[in-house]
């Protein structure tokens, strides 16, 4: 029983991170029908920005929690700006172009950010400073849960609930949903679609920066190719839940984390990814548009 609870905690922690990153894929897709392949790299860029701030301030005598909060704020702002710039440079000029052109542009942007991180920070493994957060752990029924894990799980849930409320219960959220259904009609209704798109490129990368920094704090290491690994997982989580569908990305992320934990823990560690993705294919065969269905906005 202890082992089972432990695996659930393991799965929920990484699942929460996958979900935060998956939201960026799904929101951009929902509004623009574009897979932003650079999203994973933006998230890891967030981790590196936070890392620089934390190592720069290490030993300055300020409490770890305050530094961490500052790192989150700076990193969110930096990555949101990077997201907006990315949209202006790489995607806006191609908005009327063929879909394939935008995909190639996204892949190019991904490589540019990844290699940019390598040039600025270097190719080696970077380590986050220790002792920023209390090393408290709780034990129950044979499972061990750390402070960081609780923080990640709770923060992911709160952020996802807040995003859900924002999109469904505010005027601007309604505008986002309208632009997702039909951009031309939304424009005719007086919605500034460009502002909607910009906002999507602020919210998605902003959440991604939080996810990236969570990875850094949880594992305490960062390297420049990480964006590809996490981007892939989060992209798959978005597909699993139904791409374009915000609650779908949340569900997909959490399920993917749990699948992975159970596959490694109960079936076979050497086939971990094969089992996880096999399950994914099986689900998509039954529900081709994901668990909660693609483009939920149409149902509103």
């Amino acid at each position: 029983m202890g082992t089972f609870i432990q695996q659930v905690v393991n799965g929920l922690t990484v699942g929460g991170i996958y979900a935060l990153i998956a939201l960026g894929y799904t929101m951009v897709y929902g509004v623009m029908r574009l897979i932003n392949f650079a999203h994973g790299d933006l998230c890891i860029l967030g981790a590196f920005v936070g890392l620089s701030l934390l190592t720069g301030a290490a030993g300055s005598g300020h409490p770890g929690a305050a530094l961490l909060l500052l790192a989150f704020v700076v990193s969110i702002i930096a990555i949101a700006v990077a997201g907006v710039v990315l949209e202006r440079i790489a995607y806006r000029p191609l908005r009327k172009a063929d879909r394939l052109a935008a995909v190639v542009s996204a892949l190019g942007a991904s490589l540019m950010i990844e290699n940019g991180i390598m040039l600025v920070w270097g190719p080696q493994v970077h380590v986050f400073p220790a002792g920023l957060l209390p090393a408290t752990t709780w034990h129950f029924a044979g499972a061990t849960i750390s402070f960081v894990q609780v923080m990640i799980i709770l923060a992911s849930l709160v952020l996802m609930a807040a995003l859900y409320a924002f999109v469904n219960h505010t005027r601007f959220g309604t505008a986002i949903r309208a632009a997702a259904i039909d951009q031309d009609a939304a424009r005719l209704m007086g919605i500034n679609v460009n502002r909607v798109i910009t906002s999507v490129f602020i919210i998605g990368p902003g959440l991604g920066a939080i996810g990236g920094l969570f990875i850094g704090i949880y594992y305490r290491e960062a390297y420049f190719t990480m964006g590809w690994t996490y981007g892939l997982y989060a992209f798959i989580a978005a597909i699993l839940g139904g791409i374009g569908n915000i609650p779908g990305a949340m569900l997909g992320g959490v399920l993917l984390g749990l699948f992975n934990a159970f596959a490694a823990g109960y079936v076979s560690s050497s086939w971990q990814d094969a089992i996880t993705f096999g399950l994914l294919i099986a689900i998509l065969l039954v529900r081709p548009s994901g668990l909660l269905g693609e483009r939920v906005a149409e149902k509103v």
Binding site: T3, Q7, S146, I215, S270, D273
Partner: protein, 383 residues
């Protein structure tokens, strides 16, 4: 300025040596030892390390009066690390009437030269570890580096016989290096009657190792052996402690990197890593003396441990000459094959009938709180 003085001094010494060799008729002819090494090319620093080590040992011995009352003369040939050039070097050194050749660095260059030395009955000692080098069973061949299988053998011996771990769990990534090492360790642990309770896999770089560690924790292993790389190893150690796993951590050679301790953080202390120590970290007094002399003479540390294994080849040959009071190849070869144990710079070893090194240079060291290493086994001894 100091550099120039030393250079001039060395030149003067060489000139004196030449004078001594030609001018003094009654002095016995020198004992010639060859060096076949990649002095230029890709492995130039390794080749130059071998050349410098052999010259240093010869100079030290000559300062003590040489061997059997004769001076040692070193003949160098640059094989550029290439097979074709290696064969040319071998013929050249044989024509120079060397009794033994130290080197080469690469297995390929050693292999190309091997039959030439064997036919001429010239001792060849090299760090090459390719199995091809043992195929013909040449009496003249003496490999001075531990074979590739030695790390697994040492690891199994350490886990089963030294630490007496009951339940051993093995963890590896999917790379051919790590799976090869893990499989060899599992086989050797079984041969030592140890109990491998599980072999699991991680995806290198995936960071999320808690699921597989949670599974292993439920099996209550006494030790977790990880054959992969430091970036994952440090994280595995950290996540083991986070999950409250009591098992000890033993890592393969690829875990030796300063980043291991940084990534594992407070969890790093007490982890054990198995590897050949770097030249500066060798625990044996003979090694410390040699490395200090090398650094004093050349102003740098030996480029790698293979400089020292080749130096061990040279030292063994000199010991054989002194012990048998002979330079006859058959006598020297019989002595080298028959040595029970030789205190090398890289640990004690001997040679089996095929000329393969037995006795490994591997050590188990413990990561300390400050990230430094302390050798646990074999306990450093005098000698």
């Amino acid at each position: 300025m100091r550099r120039i003085t030393i250079g001039a001094g060395a030149g003067f010494g060489v000139a004196l040596g030449l004078l001594g060799a030609t001018g003094v008729a009654r002095a016995a002819a020198p004992i010639r030892i060859g060096v076949q090494a990649p002095i230029t090319g890709t492995y130039a620093d390794e080749g130059q390390g071998i050349e410098r080590a052999v010259k240093l040992l010869a100079a030290e011995q000559n300062a003590k009066g040489g061997l059997l009352g004769r001076k040692i003369e070193v003949k160098i040939c640059d094989d550029q690390g290439e097979a074709a050039q290696a064969a040319i070097c071998a013929r050249q050194l044989v024509n120079d009437h060397v009794i033994a050749v130290i080197g080469s660095y690469t297995s390929g260059a050693a292999l190309a030269a091997q039959p030439i030395y064997a036919r001429a009955d010239v001792i060849q000692t090299s760090d090459g570890t390719s199995n091809e080098l043992l195929k013909h069973g040449y009496r003249t061949w003496f490999g001075n580096a531990a074979p590739n299988s030695a790390e697994a053998k040492f690891t199994a011996h350490y886990l089963v016989d030294v630490r007496h771990f009951g339940k051993i769990a093995v963890l590896t990534d999917h790379s051919s290096f790590a799976t090869g090492l893990a499989d060899a360790v599992v086989a050797d642990v079984k041969a030592d009657h140890g109990d491998v309770i599980d072999k699991s896999f991680i995806n290198a770089g995936s960071q999320n190792f808690s699921p597989v560690l949670t599974k292993l924790k439920a099996m209550h292993p006494d030790v977790l052996y990880f054959s992969g790389y430091y970036s994952d190893g440090g994280l595995i150690r950290a996540q083991m402690v986070q999950l409250g796993m009591k098992a000890a951590f033993v890592g393969g050679d690829a875990n030796q990197n300063v980043a291991f301790a940084k990534i594992a953080g407070p969890a790093a202390a007490g982890s054990v890593i198995i590897n050949v120590p770097a030249p500066a970290d060798l625990p044996y007094p003979v090694a410390k003396t040699f490395v200090a002399a090398y650094k004093a003479k050349y102003g740098a540390l030996p480029p790698s441990v293979f400089t020292l294994t080749n130096a061990d080849g040279m030292r063994a040959v000199m010991q054989a000459i002194a012990a048998t009071k002979s330079v006859k190849p058959a006598k020297l070869e019989a002595y080298l094959h028959g040595m029970k144990s030789f205190q090398g710079l890289t640990g004690t070893f001997a040679w089996n009938a095929k000329g393969e090194r037995t006795g490994s240079p591997f050590v188990a060291f413990e990561v300390q709180k400050d990230g430094s290493y302390r050798i646990l086994y074999p306990a450093p001894t005098a000698g």
